[in-house]
């Protein structure tokens, strides 16, 4: 909402407020001033000039004229002017001397210099609204109708020409601040100034015209106040400069004096209102009613709309005149020929207007205000103010036929609220003296009905729909007294009892473990396209009904797709080494229990409408860590190793890998592993399926893994400390020639189980495939480590015996031979 500082000062009848103090007081009180635009600071040198004479430019082919103007104090000057509307001698215009910065209308500005125009030097210019940034008219120069002496400074004639526009972030609870009066009232309360609001002058000059009596009725509960008035003898024309410039500065385009007056009242009081051409209303009758299903209306934006019974219209007996509280219709507006006016201001139900505005996709100044809740008592005031302005601007005369419709629903009685002093201190943590509370409430327009030892009872101002309860009044007291006065008090720490949730610390530790193992963390959107998920063979089970785009409509059923997309992007950027992981939520199933039920997924800590799981995924591309040597590209064993390190560092769990289960769609059939810990399946790691390499532009050897964090964490067991022996352990190496069809893991396991209980570890340390070996075989070497019991030394004889049994076992089971 744009607020004019000058207008505030006029309403508050003061010139003592600085812009800064107003802006900071409003910000502190919840009407945040986001920006202050200083406007018209270049207009100090602009003066009113009186035209003395005009002659045509002697040489120019363009329609230029040379205008001699009186600048007051005996100064006359001849100015080159291209405007078609130079007034006759005696007319008043605005003169900007050389040195003035003027606007060129396209957002740019330039400074006037003394230079010849078509051969004649001009020491300034006669200005249009655009040049002075006072309006939208660039077709001609500004002509002033008021009688002003030549040489009068513009800023003296029109103080509002120099202004500061405050951009106020008006929160949805403060519809009253969508008018200058509401903001002025807050300023008055905050800065302890008197403020009486707007009081239109009583109009004494009334004409009684029974033939112009209007029937005004509301037939819908959505309209509980409906005020109208009729005026005659209006002269529709351009508004005076003060009005045109004020509207312009606040972001509205001036139209004519009637429409401008209507808009002015809206900006002043926050009450949307409408002025009709009386003669366009059939049967002198307007009603507010629900639309008929299928009823047609062309709104002022030119669009043809089909209405339903959920819409409310203002209508005469023949046709709908406009969408109530949203936008007027074509055909009943003010034209140059209009002389008789029908003024209308109403109060509409906020929710009804909001629904209409959404349904028809119209966001207007009127709907913006009504859907937030306009003061139900304002229509009558708005009509009075509008009449006052129209008398002044158009010369129209009010007819004594004013009508106020009694709606079918009585307007709710003003609320009475009692506030306990003790409760104020309890909530704000700060004591507010009774005098101060009373002052604040009165300044905000609340009527103090009663006071006793500990309470104040007030009648809430009708323009504050947000204040209905004691707590709301407490907020008003705090806000105006000054929230920054609230002291600091240490929280008595009695609440915490659960500590950090296990999932939170689990995800955190997993991320930290990955980082320590050299992998970078990705954070992808929780949604992407069905196509992307289909690429890796996954299908989303939850979709967004109103996505930003189809590319962001499906809730991810897997982390793999996003990571592959990230890796693909990195590869296209020329990254050779890509190591990415993500720990995040996937969405796998939809649940439809009743969230209102006492025992439902809405009340439990971790259940929602969708089954959510935390997954752990990674993608590895490119060579291993190496230096001055080609270490080769990563393969599935690097992926397995990463999982091993991860599980060891997080849970001290040993994993196993096999080719069981069903390989994921993204896995290379020859190079994938199901990862287990005991009986628990953790997930899969694999080389990327060859058919995915081309679409993703990723190289062979790309490794992908997808694991369940819950499964990973479930493997954690209590650890028991080992008491280390003081005696040395012994190592024996065993080399075997064996068929490659036997999994090395199984051979290692067999060695271990056959080597007796002193055997502490069996580790593969060498493998050779190739020349000199029979087809289909390889040579593998294991290191067997034997650890002594606490105080009993190992002997060579014992150890050699154990190794011999171990070797015999694998010779028997796998047809291996010792080398």
């Amino acid at each position: 909402m744009k607020i004019s500082y000058q207008w505030l000062c006029e309403l508050l009848a003061t010139k003592k407020l600085s812009v800064e103090s107003v802006a900071s007081a409003l910000t502190d009180a919840g009407l945040e001033v986001e920006k202050v635009h200083s406007v018209g600071e270049n207009l100090g040198s602009v003066v009113v000039a009186v035209v003395k004479s005009t002659r045509a430019h002697p040489t120019s082919k363009n329609p230029l004229s040379l205008v001699t103007v009186d600048l007051g104090g005996g100064t006359e000057l001849e100015v080159v002017c291209g405007a078609p509307n130079v007034p006759a001698p005696g007319g008043r215009v605005l003169f900007a001397p050389v040195g003035t910065t003027v606007s060129s209308g396209d957002g740019k500005s330039f400074t006037l210099v003394e230079k010849p125009v078509a051969g004649i030097v001009s020491k300034g210019m006669l200005c249009s609204e655009i040049e002075l940034d006072l309006g939208s008219d660039g077709d001609g120069i500004i002509v002033i109708d008021d009688i002003v002496a030549a040489g009068t400074k513009l800023v003296e004639y029109l103080p509002g020409a120099r202004d500061w526009i405050l951009e106020v972030n008006v929160t949805p609870n403060r519809p009253d601040a969508l008018g200058h009066v509401g903001v002025a009232r807050d300023v008055a309360a905050l800065m302890k100034l008197p403020f009486a609001g707007v009081r239109p002058k009583a109009i004494t000059h009334l004409i009684a015209r029974d033939d112009m009596r209007v029937r005004v009725e509301s037939h819908t509960p959505a309209c509980d106040r409906f005020e109208a008035a009729v005026m005659i003898d209006a002269v529709v024309k351009r508004s005076p400069l003060w009005l045109r410039s004020r509207l312009w500065r606040l972001g509205l385009r001036a139209i004519n004096n009637v429409v401008d007056a209507s808009n002015y009242v809206m900006l002043e009081l926050g009450q949307p209102n409408h002025t009709y051409d009386f003669d366009a209303i059939a049967e002198r009758s307007i009603v507010a009613r629900n639309a008929k299903d299928g009823e047609a209306l062309q709104t002022l934006d030119g669009k043809h709309r089909t209405l339903s019974s959920a819409d409310v219209v203002i209508a005469d007996p023949v046709k709908a005149l406009g969408l109530a509280g949203v936008m007027g219709g074509e055909g009943s507006g003010i034209s140059d020929k209009t002389t008789r006016l029908l003024l209308e201001a109403a109060h509409f139900d906020a929710s009804t207007v909001r629904k209409m505005s959404k349904r028809h996709d119209i966001h207007s100044d009127a709907s913006h205000r009504f859907e937030r809740g306009v003061d139900p008592n304002c229509p009558a005031l708005a009509i009075a103010r509008l009449k006052e302005l129209l008398c002044e601007l158009t010369g129209a005369i009010p007819v004594q036929a004013d009508v106020s419709a009694k709606g079918p629903v009585p307007v709710a009685a003003a609320l009475e609220v009692t506030v306990r002093d003790e409760r104020v201190s309890k909530v704000l943590g700060l004591r507010i003296e009774r005098d101060e509370s009373v002052r604040i409430l009165k300044a905000l327009g609340f009527e103090v009905l009663a006071q006793d030892a500990g309470t104040i009872t007030v009648r809430v101002a009708s323009w504050r729909p947000d204040v209905t309860r004691e707590i709301d009044v407490i907020e008003e007291l705090g806000r105006v007294h000054g929230l920054d006065r609230v002291p600091l008090a240490v929280v008595p720490s009695s609440g915490a009892r659960a500590g950090v949730t296990r999932d939170f610390s689990l995800r955190r530790r997993t991320r930290e473990a990955f980082v320590a193992l050299g992998v970078d963390e990705a954070v992808n959107y929780a949604f992407d396209s069905d196509e992307l998920f289909a690429l890796v063979g996954a299908k989303a089970s939850a979709h967004i009904a109103n996505p930003l785009s189809a590319e962001r409509a499906a809730m991810r059923p897997t982390l793999v797709a996003g990571l592959l997309k990230n890796a693909s992007l990195a590869a296209r950027h020329g990254e050779r080494v890509i190591r990415l992981f993500e720990v995040g939520t996937v969405f796998t199933g939809r649940n439809t229990d009743d969230p209102h039920a006492e025992e439902s997924s809405a009340t439990r800590a971790n259940e929602g409408p969708v089954d959510e799981q935390t997954r752990v995924a990674f993608v590895l591309v490119g060579p291993r860590d190496a230096w001055l040597a080609d270490a080769g590209s990563v393969d599935v064993l690097d992926g397995k190793g990463l999982i091993e390190s991860l599980m060891e560092s997080l849970f001290r769990t040993t994993i196993t890998a096999d080719r069981g289960g069903e390989a994921p769609p993204w896995a290379h059939r020859a190079s994938y592993a199901r990862i287990c810990a005991g009986e628990t399946v953790l997930g899969y790691v694999a080389e990327l399926h060859p058919s995915l390499r081309a679409p993703l532009k990723l190289p062979a050897g790309t490794v992908v893994a997808d694991l369940s964090l819950a499964a990973m964490a479930s493997t954690q067991r209590a650890l028991r400390a080992l008491k280390p022996s003081k005696l040395p352990s012994m190592r024996r190496d065993v080399a075997l020639l064996v068929a490659r069809s036997h999994p090395i893991g199984a051979i290692g396991e067999r060695l271990r189980s056959a080597a007796g209980e002193r055997c502490a570890s069996v580790e593969l340390f060498d493998r050779y495939v190739g020349k000199g070996l029979p087809d289909g075989t390889h040579s593998i070497a294991f290191a067997l480590t034997f650890a002594p019991l606490e105080d009993k030394s190992l002997t060579d004889v014992d150890v050699d015996g154990w190794v011999k049994s171990a070797v015999s076992a694998v010779v028997a089971d796998f047809g291996a031979s010792q080398r």
Partner: protein, 380 residues
């Protein structure tokens, strides 16, 4: 690896030299002279023999040539019968003297060899330490999580629990129970992604627009006292230069007897000081959120310029940084969660992690945070 070659070459030269050395010793043991003459000859050889010894191995060999089983001194003892009885004592003393000389020379050579070996080791070709270190890759935690964890740690150190909940939720928890008025523009403050019903009728599900849903679940699952922060991912139907449709947030909730706005202020002021620095001051101003009353905004003084720089990159010249929106929990919310608002009061606050991350790491645009561009991730 390459240096091993040099050492091998050195050994070969030493071996050749050693052969000639052994020859000298053998000559000294000739049987042609008298034992005494032979002993004299041996004694004369001692100093030279040890002086040219180059390493431990040579030393042991030379020592053995004199004193080993077949050493010249050992052999010469066997010639004792050739001597007259009167000479025997003198000869024995002489042999002992020569033995001592051998041991002394040997000990001296041993020390010399150790010294020379140390010198040689220290004088080897220096390593070019400008070569890159041999190392494993170091990963990067996502900047959002770094900030999220730092922020969470501060609140945990102040006594807050950490609570979490699902990222999808029911409209009930996201709006209704929080006291959002139905059909009110306040709903527009949080443009919402709704989920398709997937063919099943029922209440509307959505992507949570704030982690207030977690606070609701906390209050529903156990009564006061409550003191939690809820960090997590939230979603709003918004995508422009300053908004991402998904972002991270942390919200806090304290409900107990006697909780006031002053406790809220202490909490956020203490947080701001721990995050931005001890000298930071705070200001509290009015605001509006549908679920708090009164609602406030808490600002911290700019930790970079303190308000003195009109072109400050951090505060843009305002002198203030928004820490977060907050307020006293609206009594309606407490009632909706089965808590008596007359007995208990509470405060809640919320702040965006993305904005804090952008400030801390000077991230030029919010979309970078979700780009997962490896170059961006590894720059931090």
């Amino acid at each position: 690896m390459r240096s091993i070659g040099l050492w091998d070459a050195a050994k070969i030269t030493d071996a050749t030299r050693f052969q000639s050395l052994a020859a000298v010793v053998t000559t000294a043991g000739r049987m042609t002279s008298t034992p005494m003459e032979a002993l004299d000859a041996i004694e004369r050889e001692v100093q030279d023999a040890f002086a040219s010894v180059r390493d431990e191995h040579e030393l042991r060999s030379v020592h053995a040539k004199f004193l080993g089983k077949e050493g010249s001194l050992t052999l010469i003892m066997r010639r004792m019968p050739e001597l007259a009885p009167a000479e025997k004592k003198t000869f024995g003393q002489a042999v002992n003297r020569v033995k001592t000389a051998v041991e002394t020379a040997s000990g001296g050579a041993e020390q010399r060899i150790a010294r020379e070996s140390l010198e040689r080791e220290l004088d080897r070709e220096p390593t070019d330490v400008s070569m890159p270190g041999r190392r494993g890759r170091v990963g990067r935690t996502h900047p959002l999580h770094r900030v999220l964890y730092d922020v969470t740690d501060i609140f945990v150190s102040m006594g807050f629990d950490v609570a979490e909940g699902p990222e999808t939720d029911w409209e009930t928890n996201n709006f209704e129970r929080l006291g959002f008025p139905a059909d009110h523009p306040a709903l527009d403050m949080q443009d919402t992604f709704f989920l398709k019903n997937e063919g099943k009728p029922g209440p509307r599900a959505l992507l949570r627009t704030h982690t207030s849903t977690v606070q609701i679940r906390e209050m529903l699952s156990h009564g006061p006292p409550v003191m939690v922060v809820a960090p997590g991912t939230v979603f709003r139907c918004d995508d422009d230069a300053t908004h991402s449709p998904m972002f991270s947030q942390i919200e806090g909730l304290v409900v107990d007897e006697g909780i006031s706005l002053a406790h809220l202020r202490w909490t956020l002021a203490t947080f701001a000081q721990r995050l931005f620095g001890k000298n930071v001051t705070t200001r509290m101003r009015g605001s509006y959120f549908p679920f708090t009353e009164p609602s406030v905004e808490l600002d911290a003084s700019c930790s970079v310029c303190g308000g003195s720089d009109p072109h400050c990159r951090l505060c843009k010249g305002s002198g203030w940084l928004e820490v977060g929106g907050a307020g006293m929990v609206d009594p309606v919310v407490l009632t909706n969660c089965g808590i008596d608002p007359e007995k208990y009061t509470g405060f809640a606050f919320g702040m965006g992690i993305d904005r804090l991350a952008m400030i801390r790491y000077q991230v030029p645009s919010i979309e970078l945070l979700y780009s997962n561009d490896v170059r961006f991730l590894r720059s931090l």
